[in-house]
């Protein structure tokens, strides 16, 4: 494989349906014999060209292992990793046209900002003039022109982050890997960098694979998200899919707040089902792909997709607690069957229904609010 075959215009138009990375049946096992642990348990996923793709999951779910396998810092025990149709799994990292932004940035402390950014191009044996031009371009892209001559120890965390990005983008990789790059920044800077990252991805047209455990970060930045747990990918979809249509309990629970209700399936038609809740109320719910009906099911409803009302509603209970959050208010309700249910209501000045502890309320579940889980 030629490493330097990725020259050309910065703006690569997205080719719909073309896959930048295809992970096929990849397993990664650490240790031997009895002490064997599968960090990745037969993972398959396709990442499209020019996509902002996020691997989301708690620590130890295998997301960083998968990233390391794509970068070449480790090799899969089994399976293939295709980069534009070529298996890169057995290649060492320096032969893969893929660059990484490290969690600790890993800037070379004995080099200046400009030398750091030019390192990759230099290793590729590019002529000096081309390197200098590209470094200047990258400095401009991340707005660091004035600090080019500084040592990396003389710039702030946010600036180091920008240099790390510029350094990884300079050789025009086919795919950019980002390993929790924002976790070391404070809240405000993190928000800024989230927008910055989206801008960079848009301007460079490079496929980004982003690893994070922060669900909010994943939802706001990604084109698609893969939710991982215990070495497996549980669900892949757009942020809206993942949030509104979680297919499994772990996904529903890990991302956002959710109400879980036990239900009995009455009838199924065209991806939807009529279900009867414990309270006897009958509602309509969406079925996940690949659902195998066996009568019982768990239904999830997001707190903001339900509404608390003084009279009526699909189910009812008693208000246990009311928590004010500024933009909205959370009403915690103990249902008549003993389960808890949270409703989130938008706040408006001088308006809106207020609830008190101990008050009996009904809950209206919207038409498209309920989702059935696979497990």
């Amino acid at each position: 494989m030629k490493v330097d075959g990725n020259n050309g215009a910065i703006c690569v138009p997205a080719t719909p349906g073309k896959n930048a990375i295809e992970v096929r049946g990849v397993r990664k096992v650490f240790g031997t014999g009895e002490a064997q642990v599968a960090a990745l348990d037969t993972v398959s996923v396709s990442i499209r060209e020019n996509e902002f793709f996020t691997l989301l999951g708690p620590s130890g779910c295998g997301k960083t292992t998968l990233l390391r396998l794509i970068a070449g810092f480790d090799f899969p025990s089994d399976g293939e990793i295709m980069l534009y149709g070529e298996d890169i799994a057995p290649l060492p990292p320096f032969k893969r046209p893929v660059n990484t932004v490290f969690q600790s940035y890993a800037l070379f402390p004995h080099m200046t900002v400009a030398q750091n950014i030019g390192f990759g191009l230099e290793m590729l044996g590019k002529p000096r003039a081309e390197i200098d031009a590209r470094v200047a371009e990258m400095l401009k892209l991340v707005r660091m022109e004035k600090l080019a001559k500084r040592r990396t120890s003389q710039i702030s965390g946010g600036q180091q982050q920008r240099v790390a990005l510029a350094r990884a983008l300079a050789p025009q990789p086919k795919v950019l890997l980002l390993d929790e790059p924002l976790s070391a920044l404070d809240y405000k800077l993190r928000k800024e960098m989230q927008i910055e990252l989206k801008r960079l991805q848009h301007e460079t047209g490079i496929t980004f694979i982003f690893v994070t455990h922060d669900q909010e970060e994943a939802l706001t930045m990604s084109d698609r998200i893969a939710v991982m747990s215990s070495g497996k990918i549980l669900q892949v979809g757009s942020p809206r899919d993942i949030y509104d249509r979680p297919a499994e309990r772990f996904v529903a629970d890990f991302i956002g707040e959710t109400n879980f209700l036990d239900a009995r399936i009455d009838s199924i038609e065209e991806g939807r089902a009529k279900v009867t809740l414990k309270s006897g109320a009958t509602i309509s719910a969406t079925l996940p792909d690949g659902f195998k009906p066996d009568g019982e099911a768990t239904v999830v409803i997001r707190p903001e997709h339900a509404k608390a009302v003084k009279d009526g509603g699909d189910i009812s209970g008693v208000v246990e607690n009311v928590v004010y959050f500024g933009t909205d208010t959370h009403v915690h309700i103990r249902l008549d069957d003993g389960e808890t249910f949270t409703v989130r209501q938008q706040n408006a000045r001088g308006a809106g229904t207020s609830f008190e502890r101990g008050q009996r309320v009904g809950i209206v579940i919207g038409d498209d609010a309920a989702q059935i889980l696979k497990d």
């Binding site: 320096f94 893929v98 490290f102 890993a106 990884a168």
Partner: protein, 266 residues
């Protein structure tokens, strides 16, 4: 007055520290002072003079031994440092495995085996080689010094490698650097302070050695320390003090120089 709590303040600590410093520096100060003695005694002051420095300077045997010492120390230090750097890379850039600790001990053998044992062993070993090859040059001394200098060079280099962020090498590899280029452009520049410290230690240790040199050297291969030892057996004049003073000055200058060099690189 109430004293602020501090574990530094304990009864007797100051006295013990003072005693240690006296033992460390007073004998050396006396030795240096008598190097400038006019008389031939090392204990009776006969006025200020530089005559013993002049005597040492004009003593061909002293110059000869000094040059030999420098030759052996610089060769041994350089070879030992290169070997130690490779050993340190091999033992740190690896996952921990069974037997790694044993390997550390193996490399650091000269720190554990008594010098006299090594001396005798080398004497016998080299004697056989000498008979077989007929070669009797400085090579034996350089080889022996290299061997016992390795752990002194190895320890600071390993410490530096262990504290280095491994992600930096990974980042270099990610940015298309082959293992050799990653070493040259990232690991080595960051390792310099450790290598310089190792080189310095190895040099000073070699310069200083008596026991092993005494066993390994052939006739006419005196180093400065073994020459001085020989002289003292024949009765002390302040010439030995003068040589010691220059030797001391040389050591201090080297250590200070390398100390500043390694600080600057950091």
């Amino acid at each position: 007055m109430a004293k602020r709590f501090s574990i530094r303040q304990q009864t007797g600590f100051t006295a013990i520290a003072a005693a240690c410093f006296v033992l460390l520096y007073v004998p050396i100060a006396v030795l240096v002072a008598y190097a400038f003695n006019e008389s031939t005694s090392v204990s009776e002051w006969g006025g200020f003079s530089l005559r013993w420095f002049a005597a040492a300077w004009n003593n061909d045997q002293v110059i000869d031994a000094s040059l030999r010492s420098l030759k052996i120390a610089s060769s041994a230090a350089v070879i030992a440092t290169i070997a130690a750097t490779m050993a340190a890379l091999a033992t740190t850039r690896t996952r921990a495995y069974r037997g790694l600790t044993f390997k550390y001990a193996f490399i650091n053998q000269p720190l554990m085996v008594p010098e006299i044992v090594t001396g005798v062993a080398l004497l016998i070993f080299f004697a056989q080689i000498k008979i077989a090859t007929g070669y009797s040059g400085l090579g034996y001394l350089i080889a022996a010094h290299t061997a016992f200098c390795i752990p002194f060079a190895y320890l600071p280099i390993r410490a530096r490698l262990e504290n280095m962020d491994l992600t930096l090498e990974r980042a270099a590899a990610d940015l298309y650097a082959t293992p050799w280029k990653a070493f040259r452009r990232v690991t080595l520049p960051l390792l310099w302070p450790g290598i310089i410290a190792g080189l310095m230690l190895a040099f000073v240790i070699s310069l200083d050695d008596v026991v092993i040199t005494e066993f390994v050297k052939s006739g006419g291969q005196d180093t400065l320390p073994t020459y001085m030892l020989g002289q003292i057996r024949r009765g002390i004049t302040p010439e030995v003090n003068a040589i010691s003073t220059v030797f001391l000055l040389l050591s201090v200058v080297i250590v200070t120089l390398f100390f500043f060099l390694s600080r600057k690189r950091d």
